[in-house]
């Protein structure tokens, strides 16, 4: 049997629908009706999303020079870049986050000019350390990915640009970088999902993301299981959006190199 309405599909859909109905009817969702929790949940989802987006963007902006330095830079740029990527990839993100938060975070207040600066109201909060740690993490992983991507662009593509008298930076901006970025798109989609799944760590340094909200609800209401289900649904929905977004991006440029 072919087609969308093949029997196996109908059976699977029925089972899935059954599970959903059972979850809705048999489990305790009364806490969802509480406006206080609704607000918290929305704020938590928003925090998770903006941390994800901001750290991916900042991380990629750092990853590009890190990758370029390793792919084509002189040794005094390539070595530190490789060292940074190795350090980030070789240590747990939780450790990096805590080192920054408890390290920098406790160092800054002891420096008077930082305490008196206009940045202090920001630096005394937790989120800058979360953003920093997560961005550096993206930079470390994607710097390595970009290194491969830069190296993977065929030499002839750059030579053609050179032969036509393109200045070096124009070659980078118009030919090398776009082709490297297109190469990393499929990888980057997966890495963004991984980054999303790393965001709950920020709850350990008091940033209130959706994970922190669900923990709070569980502690307040003694409803153990259902907030976790909500978490799963939220993360899966975000992951779905990421996958669709990257699929769209990949299809926008015909990906084929002969």
């Amino acid at each position: 049997m072919q087609g969308f309405w093949a029997p196996r599909r109908i059976v699977m859909a029925a089972i899935a629908a059954g599970i959903v109905v059972w979850c809705v009817l048999a489990l305790n969702w009364t806490w969802l009706a509480d406006p206080k929790y609704q607000g918290l949940i929305l704020q938590g989802i928003w925090t998770t999303i903006w941390i994800l987006v901001v750290t991916m963007v900042l991380g990629m902006l750092l990853a590009i020079p890190l990758g370029l330095a390793q792919a084509a830079g002189p040794w005094w740029l390539a070595m530190p870049a490789a060292g940074f990527c190795g350090l980030i990839r070789g240590t747990p993100l939780l450790l990096q986050l805590w080192l920054l938060y408890y390290g920098l975070g406790s160092l800054f207040p002891s420096i008077p000019w930082i305490r008196q600066s206009d940045l202090w109201p920001i630096l005394r909060q937790a989120w800058p350390y979360a953003v920093l740690a997560l961005s550096l993490s993206v930079a470390g992983y994607e710097g390595e990915v970009m290194r491969g991507a830069f190296k993977g662009v065929p030499h002839g593509q750059l030579e053609a640009a050179k032969a036509m008298g393109m200045p070096r930076f124009t070659i980078f901006r118009r030919i090398w970088l776009p082709q490297a970025l297109r190469r990393v798109l499929p990888t980057l989609g997966g890495e963004t999902v991984l980054q999303m799944k790393a965001t709950p760590l920020v709850a350990t340094i008091t940033v209130i993301d959706i994970y922190a909200v669900s923990s709070r609800i569980r502690q307040d209401t003694f409803v153990v299981y259902e907030p976790l289900l909500l978490l799963a649904v939220v993360y899966m929905a975000i992951a779905g959006v990421i996958v669709l977004l990257f699929r769209w991006l990949e299809n926008r440029v015909p990906q084929k190199t002969a």
Binding site: Q157, A160, A161, A163, G165, P167, I175, T257, A258
Partner: protein, 257 residues
């Protein structure tokens, strides 16, 4: 070269060019002169240094020593042969349209975008003007209907014709061809040679490294036979192909016939 009463201005001049890759001495003092309208063909066996010689003209390879001038302008070189002035190299390269063996069209851009890339983003030609010029050139190489295609979806012959149009779109003073048909399937060679022949017929200055001896004989005004990094023999095509003097060239012509 051409025996005209008033010699046309010099387009490309190479004097006593040497090039080593490490200990490997590839070019051992070769010279070349192409005036406006000349078609110089460089032939020779593999490893003879013919591609290296061509690539030194626009500094894709850095010569070890020698002198190169484009349109009467000497390229400023350090004693070690490396270019002194990047801006000058970039400007001179813009006057030399290079066509590669492996086409090297930019795969992330359509054919039309490939053609207008350098005119618009480097030479600052107004975009509509560049597009009009590009369309005219695409029509000329028989690719008018392919302007929106990506290179990967075209045959090798089509890609090479597009690459020629891309080089022409910069309105170069001279064209450099580095074995333009060597990567093509045999049945696609003809369409590319036809385009190059058209350029020769309209009086374009060209330096052409090729394995197509019959073609070289037909279009070239001057032929250089390179062997082991030295010019073994050179002259008008009829003389070189019809009555080769050197034993090596006779051998070579026999082997490629």
């Amino acid at each position: 070269m051409k025996d005209t009463a008033a010699p046309s201005p010099e387009a490309i001049r190479v004097d006593e060019l040497h090039k080593s890759f490490g200990a490997h001495h590839v070019l051992k003092g070769v010279s070349l002169r192409a005036c406006e309208g000349d078609v110089v063909a460089i032939i020779g066996g593999s490893g003879s240094g013919k591609s290296t010689m061509l690539r030194c003209i626009n500094f894709l390879e850095t010569p070890s020593s020698g002198r190169i001038s484009i349109g009467g302008e000497d390229v400023a070189m350090r004693p070690d042969g490396s270019p002194l002035n990047r801006k000058q190299i970039e400007r001179l390269r813009q006057s030399l349209g290079m066509v590669f063996q492996s086409f090297n069209l930019w795969t992330h851009r359509t054919v039309l975008e490939n053609l207008i890339e350098v005119p618009v983003h480097v030479l600052k030609t107004p975009k509509d003007e560049a597009i009009a010029r590009a369309r005219k050139l695409l029509a000329r190489v028989g690719l008018a209907e392919k302007e929106g295609a990506y290179p990967a979806f075209m045959s090798g012959g089509q890609q090479q014709r597009a690459a020629i149009a891309r080089a022409l779109c910069m309105e170069p003073r001279a064209m450099l061809f580095d074995e333009p048909t060597s990567a093509l399937d045999p049945e696609l060679v003809g369409e590319v040679l036809q385009v190059i022949r058209g350029l020769a017929d309209e009086g374009r200055t060209m330096v052409l490294v090729t394995h197509e001896m019959k073609f070289a004989r037909e279009v070239a005004s001057h032929v250089i036979y390179l062997h082991n990094g030295l010019i073994e023999e050179q002259g008008p095509p009829d003389q070189l192909f019809g009555a080769p003097k050197s034993e090596r060239l006779k051998q070579f012509l026999k082997s490629v016939a």
